[in-house]
Symmetry: C2
Subunit: 460 residues, 2 copies
């Protein structure tokens, strides 16, 4: 059996009546005595394989979930009453003529068959190398790859150049305590909380830039929305004349990216029970104050003293956008200056509020950003006011001494966006190998216990 | 003056005779009394701006390098004898009618004009926010972005799915001491030396994957070839039947990527004095032993006891490939098993040598990889033989228990590739913000001294 002529599941519709070779992983096996079936998974899809002689049926019955196999057989159209219209390739079947096991899998610790993988989150992660093979779990990351791809396409359409920025820094980007410290050749250094400062420096060079970078946050608690190492998709644009240009850009990227991914993978969205996004011609834009007034009007809750929208408010204002404007997106602007990072430009008309924005999608903030302070002295003052030491950012500040045009930008959290688009319960489901205070691939407590056990053994 | 109708330099050829607005950075100013000129740089190129009234000439004469300006004027074709054929848009000029300074730059610490930026490496990096604005320096990163873009396009053509992998790990990926340690919520963790183990796990799920990820190496010395934080472009492919399929894949990506970037930016290659790459129909393939025999024949050097090619040998074998095969690329295979990482598959025919490979380009290794051991027990033995503790890699090893097809892959260092393509002297020139044992944006010794000074001041 030669793989050279291996056919992918997705190409089987062109091979009806022909003998082909497939390779992939065994999913569910269904043995019925003299005949037997299994689903074969390859990178392009699932196909039902049928064995209709006692000898082949026996061979199929002996297969285990996740065995790696090569199979030969004839692609057949299923009879009308055997068509499964719920799945791709549900109208086809391979009538197998030969099977070779290339790599045998160990006994499964839980059932890998079925449309859903019924395991709790800790098990999902403890067995990550295995659970990712369940097609519904794998599909999360097919969508994630598409989101990143669409992000880049839209950034390139905005004429942004890709940049590669460091993750090791001399100071904490955003201030605050939630930073990871590194032993850097005997010096103290930190993992960056975002690529923010580097993309700002780079618009002084390339005008318009984008990057997909890591963002590290030493979150001291376990929540469903936070991971310690996240993937951030960032854009920064210079030579803006009006604040609205930034809103145009973020809405172009945010809505375009999500709409295109939904178009590319309608079946995955269906599998997760998610509707295609409603994108109106114009994303509704509200200041925070306007949004709060609408929420107050709809719910009676008094928000006049609130400096931000809480999760309930975000849901409510999105409900309003959907009902009143036919949009799953809404842009909120002008958050209080004191609630935003030091580089955020205060609104010249009312400096208590800032030229900042969030993009909400179906009740969740998926993007955040602002126009930036681009005057050197104002930036230094803003840093000091937030307790950030300018001495740790001399290279950053230098960029504002040698010709910085008016600029701004925004960023998406890739895992958070994936979680929201597929309506997952926990951001960890949207990260291949999530890091949090309890886990680095393995659970940390367990890991330490093992270490202790070994040290003890060595000593004794 | 409104930016809404801003025209980019690259679009000026379509605007001859019309009044347009441009915006960008002032490069060299040339004042000649009643007339004056300057070069304006925007994200798309450089254009000469001419002022032909005393008033405007005076205004131009007062501009400083790197001032951010908006200019209005009429696009003109230059007279035959004024055409500069060495540069893009050298046949055009903007006859200025109005200038507005949007952001004034500080006095330059060195000359930013001219074709070359004449500063030493430490200055190049100490003033990175400024030196990157020199067009020749910026062009390095235009090429770098194109390399990453072409890498992704080729990876997608191989039907690879993009993955996002963590950089914080419980153990050292490749063993060895050159790892950075992190304080991870009071636990010890490390920065990954490569995305290797994660991409291997993921071919057990998605078959074919690619990633652009960080690779951290705590190199204890300063060399021209190493930085502490590098960008790695990785591909991993499963269901391979023959070792040669991996060579086909790596040569497809390696040569295609470089050829396309050279086609996209011939003027940048010319600026760096670099010829377009020679890509023959077939990249010459040699085992290490064959390559050594050729070097011996050409130079008389006895390499029969050498376990690898040294830099001189790499240059020699590339010279051979160019002269004899018309190729700037040569693939070397079958390096000694003991010189390669634990996951490298030994050649079944001669286990002292491995199913490994390097791709050399013009005298330098730009890619490395191998077929991998995909049998769980063999992998555990190989780990132990290299002194790597399997307990730190339980999730990785799990992937080989639940159905792993034959697989292999390769990776490029993005900065190293950029350096080689443009024939730069030092890899730091090919990193926007290079990290090494002496520098994290600012020089570490200086930084510490500043810290000490402050602490002292606080105490006194």
């Amino acid at each position: 059996m030669k793989f050279q002529k291996r056919v992918l599941v997705r190409n089987c519709p062109n091979e009806i009546g022909k003998e082909v070779m497939l390779a992939g992983w065994v999913q569910t096996v269904r043995a019925h005595g003299k005949i037997a079936f299994f689903d074969l998974r390859d990178r392009s899809g699932l196909l039902q394989i049928g064995a209709f002689t006692p000898e082949l049926a026996k061979k199929v019955a002996s297969l285990h979930s996740q065995d790696v196999v090569g199979v030969s057989g004839i692609v057949k159209k299923r009879g009308e009453k055997y068509i499964n219209r719920d799945v791709a390739f549900g109208d086809l079947e391979l009538e197998v003529t030969d099977i070779v096991v290339l790599h045998a899998a160990s006994e499964m610790p839980f059932d890998m068959g079925g449309k859903e993988l019924h395991v709790e989150l800790p098990t999902l992660l403890d067995y990550r190398s295995l659970t990712l093979k369940h097609q519904k779990v794998a599909n999360i990351f097919i969508v994630q790859a598409a989101l990143a791809d669409e992000f880049r396409k839209h950034a390139q359409e905005l004429d942004c150049t890709e940049i590669f920025v460091p993750t090791i820094a001399a100071g904490a980007t955003e201030g605050g305590a939630e930073v990871f410290e590194i032993d850097y050749y005997g010096h103290k250094a930190f993992l960056t909380q975002s690529p923010q400062l580097y993309k700002q420096m780079m618009v002084g060079v390339l005008e318009r830039v984008y990057t997909i970078a890591k963002a590290y946050r030493a979150e001291p608690s376990v929540t469903t929305r936070h991971i310690s190492e996240a993937t951030q998709m960032d854009i920064e644009i210079a030579f803006i004349e009006r604040f609205d240009e930034l809103l145009d850009a973020l809405e172009f990227v945010g809505t375009g990216m999500i709409r295109n991914v939904a178009k590319r993978y309608p079946q995955i969205l269906k599998q997760f029970g998610v509707e295609a996004p409603l994108v109106s011609n114009r994303v509704p834009r509200l200041t925070l104050r306007e949004a709060q007034a609408i929420v107050t009007k709809r719910t009676g809750r008094d928000l006049s003293r609130e400096p931000d929208l809480n999760p309930e408010d975000e849901k409510e204002i999105c409900q309003w956008a959907k009902e009143e404007k036919g949009s799953d997106f809404v842009t909120i602007t002008h958050f209080p200056t004191k609630k935003r990072a030091f580089y955020t430009m205060p609104d010249p008309k009312d400096p208590e509020y800032s030229l900042s924005y969030d993009l909400l999608f179906r009740g969740l903030e998926i993007l955040s950003g602002s126009q930036r302070i681009h005057e050197h002295e104002k930036l230094v003052s803003a840093m000091k006011a937030k307790g950030v030491d300018p001495d740790n950012f001399s290279l950053y500040l230098m960029a504002f001494q040698y010709g910085m045009p008016p600029e701004g930008g925004f960023s998406f959290g890739l895992e958070r966006l994936t979680m929201k688009l597929l309506e997952l319960q926990n951001v960890r489901e949207a990260s291949l190998f999530p890091r949090d205070m309890e886990r680095v691939d393995v659970r940390l407590a367990h890991h330490d216990k093992e270490d202790a056990r070994k040290t003890k053994q060595q000593k004794s």
